[in-house]
């Protein structure tokens, strides 16, 4: 047991180090040649980066020892359920709450509220992203249960996005595609993916790896569709020309 923990700590440390290093090095290069900020400000930025790095380490480590193995166990239990609809429902709930807890999603929502001077509420964006992921995770569960090819879900999804792009409010296009990026953060990538893998293992069919691939793709598409629908609704309701 303890040997596994040490390996986990070493792995996480390595991940965090390689995630923080290029950003810091690039910043220092820019600082010397371009920015030339006062030293106090540089120190503050580096302090913040160091705090963020420690935080990222604890966060990833906690996910690694807590959420990852438990996601798999939940997936196995759900895959063995007699009542298939219950699995779809729980997939919906876990999709919602996982995204609700994803740090990068929160940072994005804050940035949206700040950039729009408060005219777009962060809670509205957050809830819309979460609903989107919930719906698509439920669809992903259906896909696992029925063995639906990924492209049969992705194609209508992306076509819907392209259509809504023309019908909806322009402001939401940019936010929507960024949300697709942040929704697939570390929590979703590990917890929801482990859940999907556990489920397909206990469904006992097909190649587990192939089934697990593509789950993240659905989560990435999810908030794009839901925010574009929100943009569409807002344009309909306000009758704004944009």
């Amino acid at each position: 047991m303890s040997g596994g923990w040490i390996a986990e700590i070493a792995d996480t440390l390595l991940s965090v180090t390689i995630a923080v290093t290029p950003l810091t090095v690039l910043f220092l290069i820019f600082q010397v040649f371009l920015l030339k900020l006062p030293l106090g400000q540089v120190a503050e930025i580096l302090k913040g980066t160091a705090i963020a790095a420690v935080g990222l380490f604890l966060f990833l480590f906690g996910i690694g020892i807590g959420f990852l193995p438990f996601g798999r166990v939940i997936g196995e239990a759900l895959g063995a359920l007699e009542q298939r609809w219950l699995f779809v429902l729980i997939g919906f709930l876990l999709g919602f709450f996982t995204t609700w807890g994803e740090p990068a999603v929160r940072v994005l929502c804050n940035q949206v509220e700040e950039a729009s001077n408060g005219s777009i509420r962060r809670s509205l964006v957050l809830i819309t992203i979460c609903i989107g992921v919930a719906v698509w995770v439920a669809l992903g569960v259906l896909r696992l249960l029925q063995g639906i090819p990924l492209l049969y879900l992705l194609t209508p999804g992306y076509v819907l996005v392209v259509v809504l792009m023309w019908l909806g409010h322009r402001t939401f296009i940019a936010i929507a595609v960024d949300a697709g990026g942040v929704a697939t953060g570390p929590l979703a990538n590990s917890f929801l993916l482990a859940l999907a893998l556990g489920a397909s293992a206990s469904l006992g069919d097909r190649e587990t790896i192939v089934q697990g691939f593509g789950f993240v793709a659905l989560i990435a598409l999810a908030p794009i569709t839901s925010l574009m629908i929100l943009g569409f609704l807002i344009r309909m309701l306000t009758g704004a020309k944009e």
């Binding site: 290029p22 950003l23 807890g101 950039a115 960024d178 990026g181 691939f213 993240v216």
Partner: protein, 231 residues
Amino acid sequence: MISLLKEKLAEVLQAMAPLVATVCLLQFTLVHAPVELFIQFVVGSMLAATGMLLLLTGIDIGILPMGRFLGAELPKKQSLLLIIAVAFAIGFAVTSAEPDVLVLGGQVDVVSGGAMPRQAVVFVIALGVGLFTALAMVRIVTGWSMRNILMVSFLTALILAWVAPATFVPLAFDSGSVTTGVLSAPVMISLAMGLSSVLAGRSAVSDGFGIMGFASIGPIFAILLMGMLLS
């Protein structure tokens, strides 16, 4: 900083509580996992919550200003080339260091039967992200329509997906998630916001956002094309 921590603590608790509560509920109704594993989950969530508190605080103090300063300073140099180069450097460097990309590279290595070694995959994905990040900056400066570019990109990706070998499709669309580093996302967005705030007639929202999403199309193209070339 203490008041910032307090503010973030409320946010973290509100963020994590529903998920942890749902998992606990499942544990006692459906899952019934061994107690040891459940305790490990509880400890893991407490660590993750503490980590998230520090992460969000650190992002506010250090990471966001870093992007903001860069975004405000770059356009003053009056050089589109410099902006493109910086965007490319950030996109490329951050992606090639992303742990997810290494994992993905390993998966492509397996699916392609070793024809596409991991290092090559990582390089191609990072190149894809770098190019599309640079293109996103060009878009902000030139004011091209986001709609047109996205429409062409999405439809092209779909067409490629139907043509490319089926095993590469899920990998390609999963690779969209590699541009989403918790640290790189805020930098990119505040860089774009800084850039659009100094250019006349740009909206902080519809021009400041979109870079991450746009950059994630790069690796989708890269992996699909790779799959087609190999078959």
